[in-house]
């Protein structure tokens, strides 16, 4: 304390050492130019004009949005989707874990029992009512983490604006994944010889002829 140093010597060089030990060395190095508050020369200041002038001839970053759509990141959190098993049965088992996980209370699920006549998903239960309120959803993805059957995932679709609050509550039909090749529209019986465990482990290859409506009508 007894000795007074010139301001230059008072730079806290010695104090910086523990900072670098903490792995913050890079940050402190980057902050050095900001700490230099000495007035820059007149011509140095004029360099700023060159920066703006040169930028005029650079390619703009703007994406002409409605016409050009930049692809999102692969794991972008967009609209939800309710997936299906390879034979078309729904993966959702109506457990409501997604609704419980939702911090914004945006999801409403009501489960119901599967019956032999009305088999919507493998196993006992299926999601009879499934609503996501996109006025409340914050796209955090906790519902996706909570889902035990990977029934609920998120797509990259982000164009969700609408002019009516009612239209922004998405029903099950809006959220269900489309039928792909080899899938049959449920309800239909489970794959012959398969139980819910088989479905869960992904051992069902696709739909079997015996699952089709025609086969069931004959039976």
């Amino acid at each position: 304390m007894a000795e007074f140093d010139t301001p230059e010597n008072l730079e806290p060089t010695s104090e910086l050492a523990p900072v670098s030990e903490l792995g913050l060395a890079k940050a402190s190095e980057e902050s050095t130019p900001i700490a230099d508050q000495s007035p820059s020369g007149f011509f140095k200041q004029l360099l700023g004009f060159w920066v703006t002038f040169a930028t005029m001839f650079k390619k703009p970053n703007t994406v002409q949005y409605p016409e050009v759509k930049a692809p999102t990141e692969e794991r972008f959190h967009g609209r939800h989707q309710l997936n299906r098993h390879p034979d078309g049965l729904e993966k959702c088992i109506g457990c409501e874990l997604c609704a419980w996980a939702c911090p914004a209370d945006a999801i409403l699920v009501e489960g119901a029992n599967n019956t032999p006549e009305n088999q919507v998903s493998p196993g006992e239960r299926y999601g009879a009512v499934y609503q996501i309120n996109y006025l409340r959803c914050i796209f955090c993805g906790l519902c996706i983490e909570a889902c035990p059957t990977r029934a609920l995932t998120m797509t990259n679709e982000y164009e969700l604006a609408d002019n009516d609050r009612g239209k922004l509550i998405f029903e099950k039909e809006d959220l269900l994944a489309p039928l792909r090749a080899g899938m049959l529209m449920p309800p239909h019986p489970m794959y012959p010889g398969a139980d819910d465990g088989t479905y869960y482990r992904g051992e069902v290859p696709g739909s079997h002829p015996s699952q089709s409506p025609e086969a069931n009508a004959h039976a």
Binding site: F4, D5, T52, T55
Partner: protein, 408 residues
């Protein structure tokens, strides 16, 4: 009575009316294009593209914005002084248009069979008229700020008027040198006097001072303290909406075009072609000169936008300090030098006298600037020391070598 004045004096009434209409249209169209141009240029400086939807290249964007503004609800705050509140934007907008009356847009041309120039009128004190009209324009700002009956507009209006008034002093002083050299205050004569050399070259310091003060005078970045969004919301026009706001908007841009035109007229040779391209002045029967005029105005406008895209806003006290303590004294000193040189050349003094005077001036300038520099260094040294040496707890005496360094 100059030839231009005679030409304008012989105009029949309908030609004068037509010219007035043309001036008005040019101002309004220029405003629309300026708003669009500014937004586009600033965008490119920020690696954006700006408005490009309405019309080709977004050219009609400002027109669409204008229609939108006009259709908006016109609010007058309860606490506002209604009459003054309505009059203020009108004052602001009309005065800007008025200053265009004395700006010569072309040289001699044939206009519907009449030999004339595209200039509404040529007063013997034309430039003073422009300054006077600009000063009246300040009333629009002051009254708008005052009549809004709200804090931010009042502060913004005060800032604006203080700013415009103080920079008008510097601007007026910078023009004195032009008057001395051209021997006239008529804009037409000043343009004619620049036939060989532009005043921007001959009177470079005046040009620089004018260029700075015209940015200050128009309340533009980096001197746009009157509408410093972070502090004053919108400044004097915070409470304005709809057409009244549009009028202020119009006034701002017409003002920019007006000061740019005045700068072109006084310093860049007005409608004359660039050096070496004088033959173009007779193209299209003299009408081509209007292209030169507007090219120069656009050049100035680009600088306005460039400044806005580059510089951060100045602090109010720095800005006033710069105006009163730098621009005005420098202007005064420069006027002294110019008038002395002028008198010398008129009296046909010998080359030795003129040269020695010039050398003397340069030496004095160097001496003064070095004095300022050393004073500044000394102050900085003391400031730096002061920051370190003023803890609130008792400290030992300053060691001897340090005290020497401090007190010389």
């Amino acid at each position: 009575m100059t030839s231009t004045q005679q030409l304008i004096g012989s105009d029949p009434g309908w030609i004068i009316a037509l010219k007035g209409l043309i001036v008005f249209i040019v101002c309004v169209v220029a405003t629309l294009l300026c708003v669009w141009g500014e937004r586009r240029i600033v965008s490119f400086m920020q690696q954006r593209v700006g408005p490009n939807r309405v019309g080709k290249f977004g050219l009609l964007q400002s027109l669409a914005d204008g229609v939108k503004l006009a259709l908006k609800e016109d609010l007058i705050p309860k606490t506002a002084d209604r009459i003054v509140f309505v009059i203020a934007p009108i004052i602001s907008a009309t005065t800007c248009f008025m200053s265009f009356a004395v700006i010569p847009l072309t040289g001699h041309v044939r206009f519907f069979g009449h030999q004339t120039v595209m200039q509404l009128t040529d007063l013997p004190v034309g430039v003073l008229y422009v300054l006077a009209v600009a000063s009246v324009g300040v009333y629009g700002i002051v009254l708008a700020g005052w009549s809004s009956g709200s804090t931010y507009p009042l502060l913004g209006g005060l800032r604006s008027s203080a700013q415009v008034i103080s920079y008008e002093v510097a601007m007026g002083l910078s023009l004195v040198a032009v008057f001395i050299y051209s021997g006239s205050m008529s804009t037409a004569d000043i343009v004619a006097a620049q036939h060989h050399w532009w005043f921007a070259v001959v009177l470079f310091p005046s040009f620089v001072i004018y260029a700075i003060s015209m940015v200050g005078e128009t309340n533009r970045a980096p001197f746009d303290l009157a509408e410093a969004e972070g502090e004053l919301v919108g400044g004097f026009h915070t409470e304005y909406s709809s057409l009244k706001f549009a009028l202020f908007f119009l006034a701002e841009y017409v003002n920019i075009v007006a000061v740019s035109s005045l700068a072109t007229t006084l310093f860049l040779g007005g409608y004359h072609a660039l050096p070496g391209l004088g033959f173009t002045e007779s193209w299209l029967g003299g009408w081509f000169t209007i292209v030169w005029f507007f090219l120069k105005v656009i050049g100035f406008f680009f600088v306005f936008v460039w400044l806005r895209g580059t510089l951060p806003r100045m602090r109010y006290d720095q800005f006033m300090k710069f105006g009163w303590k730098v621009l005005i004294p420098v202007s005064l000193a420069w006027i002294m030098v110019v008038s002395t040189l002028r008198v010398m050349s008129q009296r046909n003094e010998g080359k030795i006298v003129i040269t020695s005077f010039t050398v003397g001036v340069v030496l004095v300038v160097l001496a003064i600037s070095s004095l300022f520099e050393s004073a500044k260094n000394r102050r900085e040294r003391e400031d730096a020391l002061g920051e370190v040496a003023a803890p609130s707890f008792p400290v030992p005496e300053i060691p001897q070598p340090r005290a020497e360094q401090l007190h010389g």
